[in-house]
């Protein structure tokens, strides 16, 4: 009995060392460490986000200008005696009139417009004509060749203006900054001001930047990214058509069929290493094999695509193998258990489950290839001025072209600041492509992801 009566006293002797409500020193230290770690994480992400915001703002502010262009609208009299002396509208005869033949027509149109608006200027007509782009005559000539029936009539035509005038309209060029500029004078800007005030000189959306072709050093206002976009597109066709089947087949073989021995180990290590090889090395390989040895055409999207395929293959193989590995072995067992052959188990069960991962890897690989410049440098796709759109599908693959990142690089090298603006604009288009591709990758993964 005494034992029992003492027992509560005994348990109170084994009283807890401290209250749960007070944190001891150790707990405080651990909590502080955890708090610090969280802070580091937030700081890292914060810095990353800040950089991203700076980058995007920078690109957008510098690049949006490229999507707008200044145009001067003039009424041009397409004189028959100048453009089609025989008067029979024979297209071959019309083509004989060079761009020089169109220059006086434009000059007189500008002169009459200036007179009509009552603009006072001391400029000679020839100097006033410098407001317009050097591409203006060619634009008009192309229009006439396309519409020979317009000859003899007076048409209202929208001309590109000189890049300096365009820069002045956009605020890039000021009266102070042109002090040493031979391409434009203050007197010309006075005319520009009056033309703008009367509404014939205006800024508008410029579809030619997106769909047009590159132009020479002298006329940045006419340059567009469209042709090199086609070049990129044809390259992506080549990459997709080669890298996806070869990459997926290689990974299925390595992952599911190949015996586990030294040879496959070596292959495996080498594929991982290939993914880390600088892309310019693939460019040298492409130059040596595809151009010097196989004599494929230089600067052709086909060769560019082949080089980028080599570069993309390791990425696709690694991601495909990872997604094949992620399929639980119980699914393979289940298929083999009902008497499916190895190939049936792979193609009926494993591959469909791995498909979202394979697709994601492929699209990421394609996006990487789309933005690649260095290997194209060596096969001549950088520096080539893509001034003509390819003529048909075969020409699209075989005739010289550029690619979007190569075009951007090319523009950024050129002296005229108007090209700088176009380089940023090109980056915007490239980024839109990449973001779209990555979004498709995410959507596909969400769509086809199956739980097991």
């Amino acid at each position: 009995m005494t034992d029992i009566s003492q027992s509560p006293g005994a348990s109170s002797a084994a009283k807890p060392k401290g209250s749960l409500f007070d944190k001891d020193a150790r707990t405080k230290r651990r909590n502080a460490a955890e708090g610090r770690f969280k802070l580091y994480g937030i700081a890292a992400i914060g810095i990353g986000l800040l950089m991203l915001i700076v980058l995007v703002t920078n690109i957008v502010t510098a690049g949006t200008g490229a999507f707008q262009q200044s145009f001067l609208e003039l009424n041009v009299e397409l004189k028959e005696d100048k453009l089609d002396k025989k008067g029979n509208r024979n297209i071959e005869d019309i083509k004989k009139v060079s761009t020089f033949g169109y220059a006086p027509l434009i000059a007189s149109a500008l002169e009459s417009e200036v007179q009509k608006l009552g603009i006072q200027t001391d400029l000679k007509p020839k100097e006033m004509g410098k407001i317009l782009s050097k591409a203006a005559q060619a634009e008009l000539r192309n229009y006439v060749i396309a519409n020979p029936d317009e000859i003899g009539k007076t048409v209202s035509f929208r001309f590109l203006v000189n890049s300096r005038v365009d820069g002045y309209m956009k605020g890039r060029v000021t009266r102070e900054s042109i002090a040493n500029d031979k391409s434009i004078s203050v007197a010309q800007l006075d005319v520009v001001d009056q033309l703008r005030d009367s509404g014939v000189l205006y800024k508008a959306f410029n579809p030619d930047f997106i769909f047009g072709s590159d132009a020479s050093d002298q006329r940045p206002e006419a340059a567009g990214i469209g042709v090199s976009m086609l070049g990129s597109l044809f390259m992506m066709f080549v990459v997709l058509a080669l890298a996806l089947p070869i990459g997926v087949a290689a990974s299925i073989y390595l992952e599911e069929f190949a015996p586990q021995n030294r040879l496959t180990d070596i292959i495996e290590v080498n594929i991982s290493n290939l993914a880390a090889v600088p892309s310019i090395v693939f460019g040298i390989l492409g130059l040596a094999v595809f151009i010097n040895y196989m004599h494929l055409p230089t600067s052709a999207p086909l060769v560019g695509g082949l080089v980028l395929t080599l570069m993309t293959l390791p990425t696709i193989i690694i991601s495909t193998r990872a997604s094949l590995k992620a399929v639980p072995p119980s699914i393979r067992d289940a298929a083999l258990g009902v008497g499916a052959s190895k190939m049936q188990s792979v193609f009926h069960h494993v591959l469909p489950l791995a498909a979202p991962g394979i697709l994601t890897g492929t699209i990421i690989g394609l996006a990487q290839a789309l933005g690649e410049t260095a290997p194209l440098l060596l096969i001549g796709m950088v520096g080539f001025i893509a001034s003509n759109p390819p003529d048909g599908i075969v020409a699209g693959f075989l005739s010289p072209n550029s690619a979007m990142p190569a075009q951007i690089y090319e523009w950024s090298k050129r002296a005229d600041p108007a090209f700088y603006e176009r380089a940023w604009g090109g980056i915007i288009i490239l980024l839109i492509f990449l973001v779209t591709m990555n979004t498709i990758a995410v959507i596909l993964r969400r769509r086809f992801e199956r739980r097991w």
Partner: protein, 266 residues
């Protein structure tokens, strides 16, 4: 010596021998996983393999339909005869063998497809059905044999992975019987199931005995006692004792069997 004795005991049994294993050795790399196992599995009988974890009972089970072929480092020697034919003969295609010797795994592993497609997959790849109507018939028959038809007949298009664990395992059994196997191997089919689902599966196993020879690996001695007619006790890669289930559980001959059954080793 022991195997000779068990063989003598079973001469009274009139049932045909379905699978006969003679001197089977299995090596995993340097590990000797199965040491000289001799066993005869009868037709239309449930044979249970019991033993502590890692004793090689699952390994031996996987030898019976050559599932071990998928493991590179696994090497099997000795003969395993199915109806008198050596299944490890060079001429034997393991794919054809596995259609005859079906398998149900420890974890229910339905394909991430509809219930119908899960069951129809085997018949489809083996060309057992000429048309849709025949296939429908096979699917229904198999699901009935798997004792799950009544639960899923209204939702054959629902994904098999959406069923409960016990239903998934019965679906897997239905899938295994859909290819009309002669032997059904079950590797701890109830280890992931609750007692109610286990009871349903055990009832099903007893029913399957009418048509197939069933070999079941189990950790539960009560389960072995409930469902099997023959029991084999494995220990450290050896087949210690093989005989009538009642005999093994009430009057084991080997002291190791007795220790395991009474819970002293395991």
């Amino acid at each position: 010596m022991m195997n000779d004795m068990t063989r003598v005991e079973r001469t009274v049994d009139s049932k045909a021998i379905k699978i006969a294993a003679n001197n089977v050795q299995v090596h995993y790399g340097d590990t000797h996983a199965i040491k000289d196992v001799n066993v005869e599995i009868e037709d239309k009988t449930v044979t249970a393999f019991i033993g502590p974890s890692g004793c090689g009972k699952s390994t031996f089970l996987r030898c019976l339909n050559r599932m071990n072929d998928t493991i590179d480092i696994c090497r099997v020697t000795g003969d395993i005869l199915l109806d008198g034919e050596d299944i490890y003969d060079k001429r034997v295609d393991p794919v054809q063998l596995r259609a005859k010797v079906g398998m149900v795994f420890q974890k229910p592993n339905p394909f991430p497809k509809s219930i119908y497609d899960n069951v129809a997959y085997g018949p489809r790849i083996h060309g057992l059905a000429k048309n849709k109507a025949e296939l429908d018939e096979i699917v229904e028959k198999s699901l009935r044999r798997g004792a799950i038809w009544d639960e899923v007949k209204d939702r054959l298009d629902a994904p098999g992975t959406g069923l409960s664990g016990g239903q998934q395992q019965r679906l897997c059994i239905a899938r295994a019987v859909a290819t009309e196997p002669e032997v059904l191997l079950m590797d701890e089919p109830c280890s992931a199931l609750d007692p109610i689902a286990t009871a349903q599966v055990e009832e099903l196993i007893d029913d399957l005995r009418k048509r197939y020879s069933v070999v079941i690996v189990t950790h539960s001695m009560q389960q072995a006692a409930r469902v099997s007619q023959k029991t084999a006790f494995f220990h450290l890669g050896n087949l210690v004792e093989f005989g009538e289930t009642g005999q093994i559980f009430t009057n084991p001959e080997d002291p190791r069997t007795e220790s395991y059954i009474t819970g002293r080793i395991g």
